[in-house]
Symmetry: C2
């Protein structure tokens, strides 16, 4: 294998084009095999493979600095920069994260997993270089899909005026995760259609020099073009056209599906009809509602698959489906304005990505109390990469005034809350869609959620009251049973339902025959739900025990290990309670 | 006066051009007089005056929808939409806020004070209109300075593809608060220089139709051009060239100074040499440090005046001064990358605007623990507009892992922390620059702040311990004296210094001879500093009383009223303590 000879980018430079092409075939095979085994980002990495070889052939990393965006497309880079064993043997497959990580290699500058960051980061690297009077290439790699994000566009505006070497390689594979959206993409198409010659050029309008590479999957062509712009003394955008999923026919034929795959996707048949879950019942609700009400509109920011918005669903929703591209700030502001003007927007977003819209939540939405609905998915303590933690949405959102943030615990409750949120006109609302298995009571929920901050006591007891928020309501039930068994305590079980407020009346009542209040939340403790309860009881004799995740960027830690560390098990909590009794 | 006849925009339509011109003269005089009396945004409002008259003459608000950006330029609009009395008599001057406010008028759609929002909001208004099959004009007004913000650029990308009426009026006065920065502004200049005819057109590249108005301070010309595009059936950018400060020679000659003025600016001489304050000592430090170390760089996002970065300071800093334009996301990410690549970036930002960069703080900066320094100004409970509250930075920032957020209480402590933050290489740091009068101990601080979360006991006492964070350290001292006087308690006084962590050892020690811990923070209680202390003591017998602002968007409430509501006075806190004893 040619790859045997490649231990660092320097080794690449000894190869001729033919060998480089063979190398790319070898790497493709490894990537496909590995990703199909572990799951991960497939099509983006296949698309950028040849260009990565060309980049490392032409430039001299780590002296020259590559800054990856999202790092969904860093697998070929990892193989070429001393981490090939992570792709060679099954037992090493999980040795490296799927994202760039400075702790793994000097060729990785940043730990990155959210999108649209590379241009701004590269501006900083270039600016520091210039202040230090150093001399090397700074190269930001960014996908066309990532370019719609505010951070990328702010960086693009700034970078144009750097008076020194600054190279943006735009990997244009004509896709975000799904289709792109926005005026920018018409310009990219125009540029592709005219082989970069169109007069109307978004990048030139900003003052960038511009270079067009028609076939970014051709190593020779890409090397020749990059050689020409290496060591350039001003900002340039290299418009590199590639094919997403290149070299794997299943991926090129279904680019969206193969953007990120589950393990064992390649040889599997189409999945059987999926079990009902919180995503599917959301889709069902939205489809039904949209049919009844032409003013209902579903918004998402370029991640339709997460929510089950496949192409059939999108077609059915038609003009009531809005993909804003990667643009969570815009999505949030637009949802507010749609609500203001009488429509019923439902913005679906992942916990990790709502982080990108704090100011829009605060200023555009909640300050105006416009009745938009935000559905926050996947909020939970997980064993995810540090870049994609979903523990911060409660501290982020629940300290913003005016927002009603709800935490349902079962299907009926969720659907009732969802319908209430969509139909009411008083509050900006968000719902933390449960990320656990679908639970159903079989009994319709008829609660009026416009009576805010009313918690639900599902079991009356004494001594100990357990507040199990959202996902962790079921841990509260388990804990209650365990307390009975171990300490013969009949605990009160409470489903708070409202993340954003304290039920003062109920809390006051607890003082009568309870000594300990336990809060359980599936997210960060600091700034979260439990601390408000602790503050409430601060001046009383009530003891409060708060459970949730610590303030940390955990990184692919097994969930059991996390639960133990956070003492989030019925046994450990019972130990703590016993000490207080 | 012609204005006597104008009670709503309809009345405008009866006037001829000559009368409209006279009206603009009357309005200019009123705005100058009022703003010079109350303080406020002057030059932006003078620049947009004629265009506002033209807009209301041509369009039919409130059926047609105007969406203002920042709303720094809404004073003429307010005069024309039934709120002229707020500009006529001194006693009515404070009747209306300086920003658009739906509660004041049906002609205002949004309460807006942060920048770069109008395009996204207008997209939502237009989208709702289309879903409802309604028919009217939707017009976003945005200044050139605001266009660099990520939210605006995300909205611009989206809006281009709205398949219906969508009008963006770009008020190009060639200025942000200070100079603009970025490639975009070269394109605006090119368009101005070619009277809109340049081939390279940023807006056309995005797919917008484009209309150029050379003299946006000419009512007749502006009306004629707007008449042509009224009821247009697709997205268009109207490039309206205006003069900031138009009609007031002092303002046109010094546009930056007259962007926002203090009361009684017009007839005043240049201010005397300013007293030393936290801004001035920061500037002194940065100038000195920059001279010693060419890798130190000062970053701000288009608000240099706030930090004392006047033109002389900017000149002295030369290439070590970076104004990124309105682009807090970019500024934060770039600061992280500069630190990663060995420079010493110091990003100066107002508490209210760091909100725009949560994800960049979390992902680009803290996840990477790059040693950038962020100076957060003006964090405090104030009587500001609801749009510019500065109470949220602690909940926003202090729940992000890895960040070290410091709260100094005097000059020596601040300078020591600042120098530590700049020189150390381990942590991403932020400092909440005190917003109170400069206090000096006269004794150099020699603390090693790399020993994290070590609070400082400044007075040993018993029974009650008072944690006075940052600005409120002085309230802690007052409260201590008052407790002695009223209850004969010698309270322990603690200066926490670290917002982002609990001093466990000290807290544990307090249990020995204290019954009550009081926390005082000049910011929102929810998600803030005090709640962590409440959580810490939740399982103990210690009583905890937390003081800070409530979770609310207070709006121009007098500070004394706020302090009383929040019980933030020594008398009220002493009452609370007495009840617990």
């Amino acid at each position: 294998m040619i790859l045997d000879k490649i231990n660092s980018p320097i080794d690449l430079k000894k190869l001729n084009i033919e060998e480089l092409n063979l190398l790319s075939d070898e790497m493709r095979e490894l990537i496909v095999k590995k990703v199909d085994f572990t799951g991960g980002h497939l099509a983006p990495n296949l698309g950028i493979l040849e260009a990565t070889i060309a980049m490392h052939y032409v430039f001299n990393s780590p002296k020259d600095k590559f800054i990856f965006d999202v790092s969904h497309q860093c697998y070929p880079h990892k193989i070429l920069t001393g981490r090939k064993e992570g792709f060679l043997k099954t037992e090493d497959y999980l040795k490296y994260t799927g994202y760039t990580a400075p702790e793994e290699s000097e060729h990785d500058l940043f730990k990155v997993g959210h999108t649209s960051t590379s241009i701004s980061l590269a501006c900083g690297v270039a600016k520091a270089r210039d202040l230090k009077n150093e001399n090397y290439n700074v190269i930001a790699l960014i996908g066309d899909g990532s370019l719609s994000g505010g951070e990328a566009l702010e960086g693009l505006n700034f970078g144009a005026k750097l008076n020194s070497n600054f190279i943006i390689i735009l990997n244009d594979n004509q896709m975000s995760i799904a289709q792109n959206y926005g005026g920018l993409y018409d310009n990219l198409k125009l540029l592709r259609d005219t082989k970069g010659k169109a007069e109307n050029n978004f990048f030139k309008a900003l003052g960038y020099d511009y270079c067009f590479i028609e076939n970014g999957n051709n190593i020779k062509e890409t090397i020749e073009k990059l050689e020409q712009i290496k060591d350039i003394n001003h900002p340039i955008v290299v418009h590199l056209c590639t094919e997403k999923g290149h070299g794997l026919i299943q991926a090129t034929q279904n680019k969206e599906k193969f953007h990120w795959i589950m393990p064992n996707t390649l040889n599997n048949q189409e999945p059987l009809a999926l079990k009902e879950d919180y995503s599917s019942i959301t889709v069902d609700y939205l489809l039904k509602k949209a049919k009844q009400d032409p003013t209902l509109a579903v918004i998402n920011a370029a991640t339709p698959g997460v929510f089950g918005f496949n192409s059939q669903v999108r077609e059915k929703l038609a003009n009531q489906y809005i993909d804003v591209a990667i643009a969570e700030e815009h999505a949030t502001a637009m949802a507010s304005a749609m609500a203001k003007n009488g429509a019923k927007p439902v913005f679906c977003v992942m916990s990790s990505f709502i982080q990108r819209a704090y100011d829009q939540l605060s200023q555009d939405l909640c300050l105006n109390s416009n009745p938009a609905t935000i559905l926050v998915y996947w909020g939970a303590i997980t064993s995810a990469d540090a870049t994609h933690l979903t523990t911060f949405d409660i501290p982020l959102m629940s300290n913003i005034p005016n927002l009603v943030y709800l935490a349902p615990t079962n299907k009926e409750e969720y659907l009732r809350m969802l319908d209430w949120a969509v139909e009411q006109k008083e509050y900006s609302t968000a719902i933390r869609v449960p990320s656990v298995e679908l639970k159903s009571t079989g009994v319709e929920d008829t609660t009026d959620y416009s009576i805010l901050n009313k918690y639900k006591v599902t079991k009356e007891g004494e001594k100990v009251a357990i507040l199990g928020l959202g996902n962790f309501y079921y841990l509260a039930l388990e804990l209650g049973d365990y307390l009975k068994e171990k300490l013969n305590i009949d605990a009160t079980i409470i489903n708070p339902r409202f993340i954003t407020g304290v039920d003062n009346e109920l809390m006051e009542n607890l003082k009568k025959n309870h000594d300990i209040v336990v809060t359980l939340e599936d997210g960060e403790l600091d700034g979260g739900f439990g601390e408000k309860i602790a503050r409430y009881f601060g001046s009383s004799n009530m003891k409060v025990l708060n459970y949730g995740s610590f303030k940390e960027f955990s990184d692919r830690e097994p969930i059991d290990k996390l639960y133990t560390k956070y003492r989030l098990t019925k046994e450990l909590i019972t130990e703590d309670i016993e000490k207080l009794l």
